[in-house]
Subunit: 353 residues, 2 copies
């Protein structure tokens, strides 16, 4: 069944030219040969169904038009959409994307990064934003280019990288501030383990907004879930649900919840429902990300939008710039502005009976 692989020599033989001429045709250097020659070659290629062996080409040229993408897990709709955006931008620039589910596990991430390096891939986009990139230090020193998403540079960073992020602090501020405006003073903060820079920032922004409004901050209302096992954090829904159930069944329960992302918010919906509480009547909920589902759920989710497509377009551009060395020098950290999208999951506190 497996027919012999057809090589550039076969094509050359059929076209009655040398392998190098075929190679030249393949690489668009047709200007220095008779049109009929290149035509003959092209026909031979078609006839044999020849496809260049990329491994050989890569071995020779050292170049691979592929970038790596490491996200926690594409099973999570946010990261799915994220990956899709990256692929779109990369494809447009002539690159393919090798997707890796790192599950927020530094070891796994490192293994993946090493495997990418081994395959000749020299650039990677990092979706999760771990507090430290130290596990990539070795590779980075060798020349691996990394672009981080939602992960501004920190003082302690040893690894150099470009980044593009939404202003997470501002986003959280917008959310908290909006809730305060609606009269909410007891606001729960729902999160998984706060071990990523963006979550840290969101928490900071949340606190800051309360402070600005002179709303007393209650440490008890910060709910930080454990890293759920198995599928990475696909199910912020799990944590969100448990968290909401816990917070909302306390004697002096919060009147609003700010979820670290939309999946947690959906979880909170379920948690509230478990308790017979209605949104936004009994409790307001704000999310973060604005994934597609956010406007589908009932009630449609008020949330903070991250403009994913343009961001990932920029990320890919940053990375390819590095790879093709059209851009060198010190890291670039782009920050984009998030936007509050008001939908139906929030209401004035006075709406409560």
């Amino acid at each position: 069944m497996l027919s012999e692989e057809v090589t550039i020599h076969d094509v050359a033989r059929i076209a009655r030219v040398s392998p190098s001429t075929v190679s030249n045709v393949l690489n668009g250097r047709t200007e220095r040969m008779r049109p009929e020659t290149s035509e003959r070659v092209r026909r031979a290629i078609k006839q044999l169904g020849y496809a260049p062996n990329q491994a050989a080409r890569q071995l020779k040229t050292g170049f691979v038009p592929v970038i790596g993408l490491i996200v926690p897990s594409v099973a999570n709709p946010f990261w799915g959409a994220f990956a899709r955006s990256v692929e779109k931008a990369a494809l447009a620039a002539g690159y393919q994307v090798l997707l890796c589910n790192g599950e927020r596990d530094p070891e796994r991430e490192q293994r993946y990064a090493e495997s990418l390096w081994s395959r000749g891939i020299r650039g990677v986009i990092f979706g999760s934003s771990p507090v430290s990139f130290d596990h990539l230090l070795g590779l980075s020193e060798r020349g691996l280019q990394v672009v981080a998403f939602d992960r501004q540079a920190q003082r302690a960073d040893q690894v150099g990288f470009d980044s593009i992020s939404v202003d997470n602090e501002l986003g959280a501020r917008l959310a908290a501030n909006y809730l305060v405006t609606l009269g909410h003073h007891r606001i729960g903060f729902l999160s998984g383990p706060i071990r990523t820079v963006n979550r840290l920032k969101r928490l900071e922004g949340f606190r800051a907004a309360l402070e600005d409004a002179s709303v007393p901050f209650d440490e008890q209302l910060i709910w930080e879930g454990a890293l759920s096992s198995s599928f990475g954090d696909i199910e912020g829904t799990d944590i969100g649900r448990v968290a909401a159930r816990d917070l909302l069944s306390r004697p002096n329960r919060p009147t609003a919840l700010f979820a670290i992302n939309d999946m947690y918010a959906f979880g909170a919906y379920a948690g509230a429902r478990d308790l017979g509480l209605r949104i936004p009547h009994d409790v307001s909920v704000v999310g973060f990300d604005d994934i597609v589902l956010a406007e589908i759920v009932d009630p449609p989710l008020t949330t903070i939008r991250q403009p994913l497509e343009p961001m990932m377009q920029a990320a890919v551009k940053l990375l390819i710039g590095r790879l093709e060395e059209t851009r060198t020098g010190s890291p670039e950290h782009t920050m984009v502005t998030p936007e509050l999208i008001v939908r139906g999951s929030t209401a004035r506190i006075s709406a409560r009976d």
Copy 2:
């Protein structure tokens, strides 16, 4: 910045052995050398941070431990979870996964498949289940192994492939039958373009169930949406919403909706809401797939479960069996049984006022 690549020769030099010895320890053939030798090699490897050049290895051995995965779009949560399952199974078997968003576009799929082939990848799992695989005929004849998901073989198929599917017809039957049992006689069928085998089967099962129950079948209640542009069919939600809105605003509106998958069902939720209709009070909804979100939404979705993880484990096993030629011969078509998961989106018709 980009330090020289370190090769097997560098390691050999440092360890004071020949390249072949290094190669041997790399490939676990250490039994035929003094322990101290392999130890020396290992240390040199560590010291230099050496990683084998996979392109070279591949060129030499002709083997690539990678399988391709073509799905419509990982932006769709179902395909995200699907991809994640495949990755998990593949990783366990020592393979990586190269993910491709084919957007249900045969041309795109073909381009991707060719690119995979070029990279030496000889096996691919197909997520979408197009009516025809003819666009893969050329590659298949050359030896590309394909395993299809939810795509039983058809009489007209030219391309040979293994497959694993849920019994789609049965699944739809279960759904329709359950609705009939609840007293529903006018049931809408929500779908995008019915151009995939699994959708065809689901429609057939739906019809058959109605027939069995002697419920008159109303062609008008089949809603077949157009292929939405942009992001593949990420948003079954769009179509589902429009479809539900249309069907439910008719004079003699259906009392229940069967959505071709959970995303469409979510869309239907939104559509019903747009009309001020409540689920399941005013209209019952059944989905298909049982994605994670199905039990999170409000009300939790009654749906047909596809046991993704075991299915994809089987799919990967099938494919790798072919690749490693431990399995040859005629195609295998495995069919697994779907399960009706009753949740809160369905109710007896008498519940209506």
